[in-house]
Assembly symmetry: C2
Homo-oligomer: 422 residues x 2
C-alpha cells in the first residue's frame, strides 16, 4: 500500500469538512520543538512511523496514534498504526523495528511448527501458506491497555498511559486457521483444549517471560482467525508481525501473536507470566490498594481475550472548536464480534438523555462501526458522550472507573469529550 | 570413526580364538549368490551398511546385524549397526539413507524448538548444543521388536522378524538433557508431566501416524538422557538420527527420537498412534487370537520404555562347532539401567542346574555387560542357556513365550543356543 498523504486523504474523504472543524488543538509550536529535541521521534524508534505518533516507551517501541490521525482513514495506514512490542526493539530485537516488509531471505527461511498434543506435528513454510486459499478479515486491532490512562483518575497502574489511540482498523489477509489445522490432519488428542501461539520475539534477559498466548479452542472468534501474511494489502510490516501473524479478530492485540513460529494444540494454557500473571481481568470489581496484580490468579481472573464493547468520538475531538448550528458528530464503535452492535447512543447533556446515532453498515463484525449524528447546539462549552450496546445487551459503563483493575486493562467507559461551539 | 576391518578386529581382540571357533555356519556360497541377486543389498538401501546385514524391510531400511558381526566389536560400528526407520528411506525420506554425517549446510540450518507448556519456549541451533559441555553415554540401543521372531513359535505377529541383532552397543556424546532444560529456564507449568520429542521424519502419506514419543519426566533414565551430536566419536550418521538424536539410555530405540526438531514439555502424552496404539505392552499375559493390537489401550498397557532385562550368547553361536575340553562361553547382558545387573547364570543342562558367569565391569549401567564362563564338555550336541538377574530380582522368563503379545515386543526369554562340541 502506498503511504497516504494526510492532506490528500483529508481532501478525498472530506473528513475535516464533515466534522466542521475549525481548529485542532495541539502542542504550541515552541513546546513541540522542545519535545522533539528531548524525546526520540517515532520514526527513529520504528522506521517508517510518522512523527505525530505519541511515544509511550521508546525502548519497547510502544506508541499510539493521535485521534487526529486515526480518524482520517477508515483503514489505519501502517505509518500511523499504534505499536506494542514486549521486548526492546533495539539490540537483538532491532530486526522488527521497521514498517518495512521482511526480506525475501527471512521469508524463505521462516518455519512454523504446528504441533503439540497431536498425532502428526507439521512444519510450514511461508510459501506453503501463500499457496493456500486466502481470506480477508477487516478488524480492529487494539491493545488491551488502550484507554488505561483514564483509569488513573482512580489510581495509577503500571503500564503505558494509553489514551484511545492504542488501536486501529485493518485489513488482514491470510489462511483460515481452523481450515488450516483441519487440513494438516494433525490428529489432536482428546485432551486438547487450547491453541498456544508463540512468536520469534524472545525476552532480552534469561528468565524473562516470553509472550506466549493460549486461546481456548472453543472461542467463536477462532472460527474467523487467520494466519495472516498481509496487512492492508501488503506483506505485514515487520513491526506488526511480518511475515506471519496470528489474527484472531475481536481479540486484544496481545493474543494476535506476531512473528509466529509455533502453534501448539495443548491440554492446558501456557504458564507464561504474560498469560497467567498479567493481561488478566479480575472477575469482580476490585479496589485500588486492596487488590494488586499479585492477587490475580487463574481462579479469580480471566485473560484479556475479546474486546469489551467500546465506542469513541472522532469528531469533535477534545478541545476542538466547531461551527455552531447543526453540529456533526462521528466516531466508531466495536466489540468482540460475537454478536452485532445494535445501538450507538449519544448524549449531549451528560447522560440525562440519549439519542440514537446512525451506524454505517460495518465491513464485518470485527471492523470499526462508524457512527454519526447531527445535533443543533448553541455556542459555548459542550460535552458529547457515546455508548455502544450489542445484541447481548453488553454496553459501556457510564463510569468507566468501575472496571478499574490493577493492570489497567479493558477500559471501555462511556467516552466523554468536551468541545466548544463557536 | 574408521571402518573396522573384520579380520583385523578378530586378530586384535582374539575373539575367534577365545571362542575356540572352528566353523561358522552360513549360507552355502551358491545360495548366498542367488540371495544377493534377488534382494537389494544393505548398502544399496542405506549407503555404507555392510552386505552381511540382514535386511527385513528394504522400503523402510530395516535391517539387523548378524551376531557373527555384532560380537566382534564391543562398540558396534555404524556399518554394522541395526536400523529401524519408520518411513520409507527412498523418495522424500532418502536424505537419511546413509551412514554419512549430515552436510555442513544441514547442520547449520537445523533448528530445535524446545517448548510446550512453558513460560519461555526456546529455539536451539546445533552450534548452541555443540558449545555446551558434552558428556558421553555408553549404552545399548535396541529395537523394542528385537527377538520378535522367537514369539512366532507361539503365534505370528505383525512387524519384522528380528532375531537378536536388532541392537548394538554404542558411545554417544552430547548435552545432558535435564541440565539443558534447566539451563534454558523454560519455566514449565505445574501441569507438565511428559517430555514429547519429535523428529524431522514425516509420514509419507497424509494422515499417517508420525513417530512422536512422550517420556514421563519422572523416568530415572531421563537423568542420564542427552541430546546427542556424536555416535562412536563421530557426528551421528544420518540414518541413525544425525545431526541430533535424543538418547535416553536404557530405553528402546523408538524412544530415542532421531533428527530431533522439537522437544515439548506437556501435560499429556502425545496421541501419536505410534505411542498410543503400537509399541505397547499389555499389563497382563495375553493369548494369541484372544487379544489383538486393537485391544491395547492406555489403561491396559504401557509404552515400551525401558529395556526388559536380557542376555544373549555370542559364543558359541547356534550351529557352531567348537573344540572339546574347556569350552569358552561368552555373551552380553543388559537391562534398563535403573538397578545393576547382579548375576548372569548359565545352564548347560537345559535349566536343571545353573552356574554363575563372570561379569566384566561394565562401561556403565546402560552398556553391554560382557560375561564369560568356561565349562568342560564332552563331544556331541549341547545347548547353552543364559539368564541375567538384576538387583530388583528382575530376570528373563525360562519360557520367553509367556510374554507373547500382539505387537511382538519386549522379547527377553532365556537365550538357548544349540552347538556342537567336536
Amino acid at each position: 500500500m502506498r503511504p497516504i498523504d494526510r492532506r490528500s486523504f483529508l481532501q478525498l474523504t472530506g473528513a475535516a469538512g464533515a466534522a466542521g472543524l475549525i481548529r485542532v488543538p495541539g502542542l504550541p509550536s515552541a513546546l513541540r520543538a522542545a519535545h522533539a529535541a528531548e524525546a526520540p521521534s517515532a520514526g527513529s524508534i520504528i522506521h517508517g512511523k510518522r512523527p505525530e505518533m505519541i511515544v509511550h516507551n521508546a525502548k519497547l517501541g510502544v506508541m499510539e496514534t493521535p485521534l487526529q490521525a486515526l480518524r482520517e482513514s477508515h483503514f489505519t495506514p501502517k505509518e500511523y498504526l499504534y505499536n506494542r512490542t514486549h521486548f526492546p526493539v533495539d539490540g537483538a530485537g532491532a530486526w522488527v523495528a521497521t514498517t518495512d516488509a521482511p526480506s525475501r531471505e527471512r521469508v524463505d527461511q521462516w518455519e512454523i511448527l504446528v504441533g503439540g498434543l497431536v498425532q502428526r506435528p507439521k512444519s510450514l513454510r511461508i510459501a506453503d501458506l501463500a499457496g493456500m486459499p486466502q481470506v480477508e478479515r477487516r478488524s480492529v486491532m487494539q491493545c488491551a491497555g488502550n484507554g488505561r490512562s483514564y483509569y488513573w483518575a482512580e489510581a495509577k497502574t503500571p503500564g503505558s498511559g494509553w489514551k484511545h489511540g492504542g488501536m486501529g482498523n485493518l485489513r488482514w489477509e491470510g489462511v483460515p486457521l481452523r481450515a488450516l489445522l483441519d487440513g494438516l490432519e494433525l490428529g489432536p488428542s482428546e485432551h486438547v483444549r487450547f491453541l498456544t501461539a508463540n512468536g520469534k520475539d524472545v525476552p532480552p534477559v534469561a528468565g524473562g517471560a516470553d509472550l506466549v498466548k493460549s486461546i481456548p479452542l472453543a472461542a467463536p472468534q477462532l472460527d474467523d482467525a487467520i494466519l495472516a501474511l498481509k496487512m492492508n494489502g501488503e506483506p505485514i510490516p515487520l513491526i506488526h508481525g511480518g511475515p506471519v501473524r496470528l489474527i484472531v479478530p475481536g481479540f486484544y492485540g496481545n493474543m494476535n501473536v506476531k512473528w509466529v513460529t509455533d502453534l501448539m494444540l495443548m491440554a492446558e494454557p501456557t504458564p507464561s507470566a504474560l498469560m497467567q500473571k498479567t493481561y488478566r481481568m479480575p472477575h469482580r470489581q476490585v479496589q485500588p490498594g486492596k487488590f494488586t496484580t499479585q492477587d490475580l490468579t487463574r481462579q479469580n481472573s480471566d485473560p484479556t481475550y475479546g474486546f469489551a464493547i467500546m465506542s469513541v468520538v472522532f469528531a469533535p475531538l477534545a478541545g476542538e472548536t466547531v461551527r455552531g448550528g447543526n453540529v456533526p458528530f462521528r466516531g466508531v464503535a466495536w466489540n468482540d464480534g460475537v454478536v452485532p452492535i445494535t445501538e450507538v447512543r449519544v448524549s449531549l447533556d451528560q447522560g440525562r438523555t440519549w439519542r440514537a446515532a446512525e451506524i454505517d453498515e460495518p465491513d464485518g463484525p470485527y471492523a470499526w462501526h462508524p457512527w454519526q449524528l447531527q445535533a443543533s447546539l448553541p455556542p459555548g462549552s459542550h460535552e458529547v458522550w457515546v455508548r455502544a450496546i450489542d445484541a447481548w445487551g453488553r454496553s459501556q459503563p457510564i463510569d468507566g472507573l468501575t472496571t478499574w483493575n490493577p493492570g489497567g486493562w479493558d477500559w471501555h467507559g462511556v467516552d466523554r469529550v468536551s468541545f466548544q461551539v463557536a
